[in-house]
Amino acid sequence: MAWSAMKRRIALVPGAVLAALTGACAGIQSPLAPASDQAFALHDLLILMTVVCGLIYLLVIAGLVWSVLRARQHAKRAAAAPVDDSALDRSLIASAVIIVTGLTVLIFGSFLADRALLAARAEKAMMVRVTGHQWWWRIEYRNPATGRWVETANELHLPLGRTTRVELASNDVIHSFWVPNVSGKIDMIPGRRNMLDLTPRRSGWFRGACAEFCGAQHAHMALDVRVDDPVAFDAWLAGQAEAARKAQGPGEALFALHCGSCHAVRGTPANGRAGPDLTHFAARRLIAAGTLPMTRGALQGWIAQPQALKPGTAMPAVPLRPAEADAVASYLAALR
């Protein structure tokens, strides 16, 4: 990491100004607010590139303005001065040298950033498998203690400071896993398995999105990402591994009948794998891959008319009587 730290100091002065300027308006889904080793490496490269390219641009514009002003004065003189290009020939060579040096710096910087991404690849890392579906994310964690896989969806939890190796694949069409604050994007292509290492350095909520056009609801395929300290993460993962607690009321039976063909809630007859696993549904912050907040009203609306909120989604509008819909909603809201 020495090189990237030293490089950061070189680009410090102009970089700091620029970072401050852009950092101010950087949100929870932006490469300008890096929160992991990988994102820092790319952020440094971005600053280096912007600075070098900015200088070259100013150089070109200065040359253009100077030439136009100078040539306008010459236009007033009637006679065409004899053309002596020897000075210009030398400056052509000089400009070629400038461009080549600028490009070499950028190519070298890019190569080093690539190496930094590789260096961040630790051997002993926790395995997470993320599979892209048409318009939601299926996420499976390999519990290091038990070696068994725990399935959840649409919300990715990462331990702070530890490297997580995310294995990316697709169930149907090409998607792209992109959580800008945590790392660059990698496509999820059917027939291939891509690897991505994440080493978060800052805890909190971040947001990712699918970055490869994948059909009607490509816009509503967001990913909520939570970075906790390792202790909280292990507790959360252990909680996810448990089956759903016994619920009272008719909601569970209604859910198993009407929704169990596609959704699974461990510990109940509902075992469909077509849709996301809802065992700990209420523990999530958002519904339907970042489309709606986890509120009672949003949940009822989503159950009643999914096509209105996410047109084209594969979730059918299950015709339930209001009482039944209310029972199912309260059952789901209890699935902590």
Partner: protein, 144 residues
């Protein structure tokens, strides 16, 4: 020539992603709502995906024989839209598809199943290969 061709094709290709009207079962094989599903390629393809997700291919897969083979075009209980729709709902002992599949999805499933025999086996196999990783009922074999 282009215009005539285009107008003929437009209903087949329409893709309405707005919420469909509340659905009831088709009444008879000449229900006016049938062409909106049977003739629309998007509804048929959605039917195909629900066919996989509800696990129908477990019994009705490509190599199913006899009455379970839905692509040979002969229907034990009548090939009309309403007949097939009724068979899906009521004649699957123990599966209770009437409750487990919403009505609009059953329309799509019926349209898909009745459309199967209009395609060559290679075409069906080609689409099946692309959707090999789709979950089949309660089984999911992992991504492609």
């Amino acid at each position: 020539m282009l215009i005539v061709l285009a107008l003929a094709g437009c209903s087949q290709e329409a893709r309405r992603l707005v919420p469909g009207p509340p659905q009831t079962a088709p009444n008879g094989n000449a229900d006016p709502r049938i062409p909106a599903y049977q003739e629309n390629l998007y509804q048929i393809s959605q039917g195909g995906r629900y066919f996989a997700w509800y696990g129908c291919s477990a019994c009705h897969g490509e190599d199913a024989a006899g009455p379970a083979n839905l692509a040979d075009g002969d229907w034990r209980h009548g090939g009309g839209f309403a007949n097939v729709f009724a068979v899906i709902g009521e004649r699957h002992a123990g599966q209770d598809y009437a409750a487990r599949t919403p009505v609009e999805q059953r329309w799509q499933l019926t349209a898909y199943v009745r459309d199967l025999s209009r395609h060559h086996a290679e075409k069906r196999r080609r689409i099946m290969l692309d959707q090999k990783a789709e979950p089949q009922g309660s089984a999911w074999l992992g991504p492609q």
